[in-house]
């Protein structure tokens, strides 16, 4: 890639960085993300749902979007970290350290896991106080556990996306697109059953799908035991994506070592 190509792709990535919720860099950005973005996304789909299907779908949609906010932070941040390394040129250094790479990435992802959980809590507040979702029956333990596990498994999923993204010239675009498709696949705004049959398997390959379903149950009063099967499936899917992500990452590493190309594939 010659110089002007680099600049072009970089600035587009830079544009993405602005859109890519680099929230921890900038207080205004963080606030905007946490509050404006989460509320407006929820509001948009609540109103669309209200318009098309009537007020009964509001809790379904509100809770779905609340859980989905965790994926912004976790999936996107992990992808950002892994592809950011590539652009910054620190990747060779990272690859070169003898420290086991997985813990390194997971360590950095943890910050975003908690940041993501915070987004969900804020969204629940919006759901309760603005859209009138009833949390009166909610089982706090089950709900907390669900949110935590969803954040963790989606972080693992982010590693998978991060691992894949090394093969793309514009990994941030890839992640951005992916993030939005969660809105369709994961039962956020409508049940997975509403999707065509052939698409549904993809939904069940994403940890978020289980988390959203479990959260709805927990808010309705289900106990931890009741939702354990769902959480168990979520855990398996999450672990599988971590493993897959790690495999992709290592294979990229090997390709890079063989061809001598690490930077800006």
């Amino acid at each position: 890639m010659n110089y002007s190509q680099n600049i072009r792709v970089f600035f587009s990535s830079a544009v993405f960085s602005y859109r890519a919720q680099f929230s921890w860099l900038n207080p205004t950005m963080w606030l905007t993300m946490k509050f404006v973005l989460t509320l407006s996304q929820m509001a948009f789909f609540v109103f669309v749902g209200l318009f098309i299907r009537g007020p009964s779908v509001i809790p379904f949609i509100a809770i779905g979007n609340a859980l989905q906010t965790v994926s912004w932070n976790t999936v996107f941040s992990v992808v950002n970290i892994t592809s950011h390394d590539k652009w910054d040129g620190t990747l060779p250094l990272v690859l070169a350290t003898p420290a086991s790479r997985l813990p390194l990435f997971i360590g950095r992802a943890m910050v975003h896991v908690f940041d993501g959980m915070l987004s969900v809590v804020i969204s629940f507040a919006f759901a309760a106080f603005i859209f009138g979702v009833d949390f009166g029956q909610a089982n706090a333990l089950a709900l907390t556990f669900t949110v935590l596990l969803t954040a963790l498994t989606m972080a693992g999923f982010g590693l998978l996306i991060g691992g894949l993204s090394f093969y793309y010239r514009e990994p941030l675009i890839f992640a951005n697109i992916f993030l939005f498709t969660l809105l369709i696949f994961c039962g956020i705004n409508f049940p997975v059953q509403d999707l065509p049959q052939f698409i549904q398997p993809f939904s069940y390959a994403i940890p978020l799908t289980y988390g959203v379903s479990a959260a709805r149950s927990a808010i309705a009063g289900a106990t931890l035991l009741d939702i354990a099967p769902l959480l168990g499936q979520q855990l398996i899917v999450g672990l599988a994506s971590i493993v897959l992500g790690y495999i992709f990452f290592r294979s990229f590493e090997n390709v890079a070592r063989k061809t001598g190309r690490i930077e800006a594939v």
């Binding site: 010659n2 002007s4 190509q5 072009r8």
Partner: protein, 333 residues
Amino acid sequence: MPETKIQLGSASGKAIVAEHLGKVFNVAKGMLRRTKTQIMAVKDVSFEVGYGELFGLVGPNGAGKTTTIKMLTTMLIPTSGRATVLGYDVQKQVTQVRERIGIVLGGERGLYTRVNAVDNLRYFADLYGVPVNVRDKRIKELLTFMGLWDRARDRVETYSKGMKQRLHLARGLINDPELIFMDEPTIGLDPEIARDTRELIQQLVNKGKTVLLTTHYMFEADELCKRVAIIRNGEIVALDTPSGLKKYVRDASVVEVEGFGITDKEVAKFKETRDVLSVSADLGESKQVLRIQTPKGSEIISEVQEILKNSRIYDIKIKEPTLEDAYLRLVTT
């Protein structure tokens, strides 16, 4: 509507008249606590350029050359002083100035790289209001003149550095300007391309255009310019023809010493020596070259040998001062 050309003083009939131009920038620094400082890029610059002249503005980096050009081309508003370009005031008649001048700001910038040369030129032709019936013909002429016509339909990103520079130059000529400003036009170019560029500039002047260029290559100013202004710290310290400027250092010869083992210590000793007006040193790894300006001429050789007794001397030459020597004297004292 008749256009009024604003006349400054007795400056009628001059292509450029600059009167006490000054530019102060307010810079805010710091992330949390913004402190404001003022940078005086140009203190007081006055000069005139006649029609058909090739005028040079030389000086060290940061002296104010680019800022001065930007003020004259309406890209910066002066904080003090006035100027007219082709008779139009640069602050009050901005559009008239912009229509009639060409601007070439050195380097490979100023081009849309994902698009081809013809489209680049066509775009700027449209922005400059080049008459449509003339536009396409002129694009072809310019690209042919620059030797780019056979690659005209290729994306600019595929061009070499030299080709981009030539296209940049073509872009600066798209409106067939009477007066062209060039900021360091040959910087960073391979010697052959730089030489071709200088020839092009000479041809432009031969056609009757007026050119103001900035450079920090003295030999370039010497070769091309009818008159040269030396700018330092935002002020003009000398303005004359190249031979006029050289006379400034006529009082001194230049003793050029080539040797090995010469360090800053020796250079400092030379600077302290009586009758040494200035010393410039090129301290390379395998060879060092000193240029010593002194009125003593060859009489200084014994002192040279004394100071350099621990070094190896390969060669000592006595030379005529060049424009570069005049420049160094004016800029470093």
